[in-house]
């Protein structure tokens, strides 16, 4: 079960060109291409006739020709030609999904197309102004997307999973954590005062000694997540009502594009904006290396978690994690799940969503 009436990140905009690309989103086969003028198109990836994936076919201008019997579809998904036949039967069409480029991502709407409002795309404009100072990665995760959401909303795991880079024991042991609901977002704010900097902060922040660190994870349903990291010398005062999105002396922002592939697999498209103090190409390259190391450490954890859920004799899914054992750090996760559940429940009673 997934939230359908929302935008998901289908990939980075430049992942798609004037060629047929097959993807699975929310268990559905989708073919994506751009018209000759560059407009993105997403169609159900199966011919209405004998179900061959349209992605096996070819583009004829802006139209898709099936590889089996040559049925031709236009960008709205309507079948407009059947070889050897004068007319096209009614109902010969495949589904078209709304798609839009924004903030370097291609966004896809998997629900009722009538509800696809571009204003609902999350604000990832931080990427637009970062220009070259970004690090991107595409990942295929062997887990339900909720495990990734959990991970990004509870950064105490840095102390253990990422101990060689952004993590140090104090991040878990000495953090002050506040969970705040702001409109349709959940903010999980964390501060650590007067601690030893973790390796990455030591390396790039050029601190004299102990430091103050802060992180904020912002969640919006179903899986829009922005995370910001900041730091300063320990003798610089930090108040909890300060702008937690600021980087202080050194920090970075992470913006996550996530889309479920199936109940057990997820596509992740992550962008990190790099702090302006990192000027040298070598420093940027090293920072990017650490970013990719970190996310691959998480990826291994996700696969092991999912495997454990799949093999549990009780038949668990990622939704059951909250009921097995909650720890203090889970408060943000619980609120996020509640927000998502409310949205999903609302969707199941809307007839508009069912008819999509």
């Amino acid at each position: 079960m997934f939230l359908r009436n929302c935008w998901y990140a289908a990939g980075f905009s430049d992942d798609f060109g004037h060629a047929l690309t097959a993807r699975t989103f929310l268990g559905e086969a989708v073919v994506i291409y751009r018209t000759e003028k560059g407009a993105p198109i997403a169609l159900e990836d199966r011919c209405a006739h004998r179900r061959l994936p349209l992605s096996m076919g070819r583009l004829d201008g802006d139209r898709v020709e099936c590889a089996y019997h040559g049925l031709v579809y236009d960008h709205s998904g309507a079948c407009i030609k059947i070889p050897g036949q004068a007319s096209v039967p009614q109902g010969a069409r495949v589904r078209a999904y709304p798609v839009l480029d924004r903030h370097t991502y291609l966004w896809i709407w998997m629900g009722n197309p009538k509800l696809a409002d571009p204003a609902l795309i999350p604000d990832y404009s931080a990427i637009d102004t970062a220009g070259e100072r970004t690090s991107r990665i595409r990942l295929h995760l062997r887990c339900n997307y909720l495990l990734t959401v959990d991970n990004l909303l509870d950064l105490s795991h840095l102390a253990y999973v990422h101990a060689t880079t952004t993590g140090s024991p104090a991040l878990a042991e000495e953090a002050v954590v506040k969970v705040v609901r702001v409109g349709d977002a959940v903010l999980i704010k964390r501060w650590q005062r007067n601690i030893d900097p973790s390796p990455t902060f030591q390396q790039f922040g050029a601190f004299k000694g102990r430091v103050n660190l802060w992180q904020v994870s912002e969640y919006r349903a179903p899986c829009y997540i922005r995370v910001s990291y900041g730091s300063c010398d320990a003798d610089v005062p930090v108040h909890e009502d300060d702008d937690i999105w600021s980087h202080g002396a050194w920090g970075f922002k992470v913006l996550h594009g996530l889309i479920p592939e199936t109940e057990r697999t997820t596509h992740q498209f992550r962008t990190v904006t790099i702090h302006p103090s990192q000027a040298s190409a070598a420093a940027i390259a090293e920072f990017k290396r650490q970013c990719d190391l970190i996310i691959n450490e998480d990826r291994e954890v996700f696969a092991i978690q999912q495997e454990a859920l799949d093999t549990d004799p009780r038949g668990l899914s990622a939704w059951d994690l909250r009921s097995t054992a909650t720890i203090g750090a889970d408060q943000g996760l619980i609120q996020a799940r509640r927000l998502l559940r409310q949205r999903m429940d609302a969707e199941t009673v809307l007839p508009a969503a069912a008819s999509a």
Partner: protein, 361 residues
């Protein structure tokens, strides 16, 4: 109402029929394990080389007999040495003077014909060898063959659909045997027969597809025929040919005739796996081996392209089995075949009364 799950997931099979179980040269002196319609069968040759088909399971501790060995007329289990004769009766248990009375396994009628091993999957008393689909070109003097046995992760009816609608050549095989006119301007007729359907396609006065131009040596337009004959439930003979346009091909004559005949055994292993036996036979190029080999290479390219389609269809159908499909004009033949299979299945169910049929897992 026709079953709209094109992949026929969970559907049983017509059992009162001969199925192509193996090419003759796949069965040598050692036992061969095969699975037909969900049933595990061991094939072996007895002393006179004639084929025997038995349930592939020792009556004692269920070891597959295909792990055993042949002893003259008998097959010997690899575990405790029990020996079975061609009727499935256990005739020897080592260390014991007499086998138990009920030590018998099922025996299937098996026949070798046209370099194929055929098995009758229905009631043995109905096994009439006259009902075996003749593939005489497989062993005909002056004819060459190239063949393939592929185990395909797809329901067998998807393969039959393909063979009864050859408009797909225009798209799937455009670099070899396909040309646009086969889909755009063919005259297609589907004629039901007592035991199947014949789909005839004539495409007149059109440029030759690449393979036809190459091996038919055409520098002119051609009249082309594709005659698919399907025999319920799972064998086909397809005649493919051409002659100079307007030279009388439609009345059986024609100048510069070029023809090849393809034999198909589309044998279900389960509802989602098929053993596909495919052979192209031809008498042209008999004396030109390099050209024949190139023709064979192109033929194998064609069948490889089809197999990729079957797998992709099956995958898509398993993901969304109930999504709607449309039919097009050329589906008359394939749909007739599907209806005929459904009717045979219903008749077999009826004749078995209330007996529960075995649906393979």
């Amino acid at each position: 109402m026709l079953n709209r799950d094109l992949a026929r997931t969970g559907q049983d099979f017509v059992r009162e029929a001969w199925y192509l179980a193996a090419w003759s040269d796949e069965l040598d002196k050692t036992p061969l394990g095969v699975i037909l319609l969900g049933e595990s069968i061991v094939l072996y040759r007895r002393g006179d080389a004639s084929p025997v088909a038995l349930e592939n399971r020792c009556a004692h501790r269920s070891l597959p007999l295909s792990l055993g060995c042949v002893r003259g007329e008998l097959i010997e289990c690899a575990y405790h040495g029990l020996q079975f004769d061609a009727s499935g009766r256990c005739v020897h248990v080592p260390g014991q003077s007499r086998p138990p009375a009920d030590a018998t396994i099922r025996s299937y009628p098996a026949v070798e014909q046209d370099r194929c091993i055929w098995i009758w999957m229905g009631a043995p008393q109905n096994a009439d060898t006259a009902k075996i689909t003749p593939f005489p070109w497989m062993a005909k003097k002056g004819w060459r063959q190239t063949k393939l046995h592929a185990r395909i992760a797809a329901n067998y009816q998807l393969i039959i659909d393909n063979l009864l609608d050859l408009s797909h050549l225009s798209f799937v095989h455009s670099s070899t045997v396909g040309s646009p006119e086969l889909a755009e301007s063919a005259r297609v007729k589907a004629e039901p027969t007592e035991d199947g359907v014949i789909v005839s396609r004539w495409t007149l006065d059109v440029p030759p597809a690449p393979t036809y131009a190459q091996f038919g040596n055409y520098y002119c337009n051609i009249d082309r025929w594709q005659i698919s004959r399907w025999f319920v439930p799972s064998t086909l003979v397809i005649r493919n040919g051409s002659a100079k346009a307007g030279s009388g091909a439609q009345t059986g004559g024609g100048e510069q005739r070029f023809e090849f005949i393809v034999c198909h055994g589309v044998t279900p292993e389960s509802d989602r796996v098929t053993n596909y036996f495919w052979a192209v036979t031809h008498d042209f190029l008999y004396d030109d081996l390099p050209a024949a080999e190139e023709f064979h290479r192109q033929s194998h390219q064609v069948i490889g392209e089809d197999i990729a389609v079957f797998k992709a269809q099956q995958d898509m159908l398993e993901r969304q089995p109930l999504a709607p499909v449309i039919d097009i004009r050329y589906d008359a033949g394939p749909l007739h075949a599907r209806r005929m299979v459904d009717a045979r299945l219903a008749a077999e169910l009826h004749s078995r009364g209330k007996e529960r049929i075995n649906v393979p897992a």
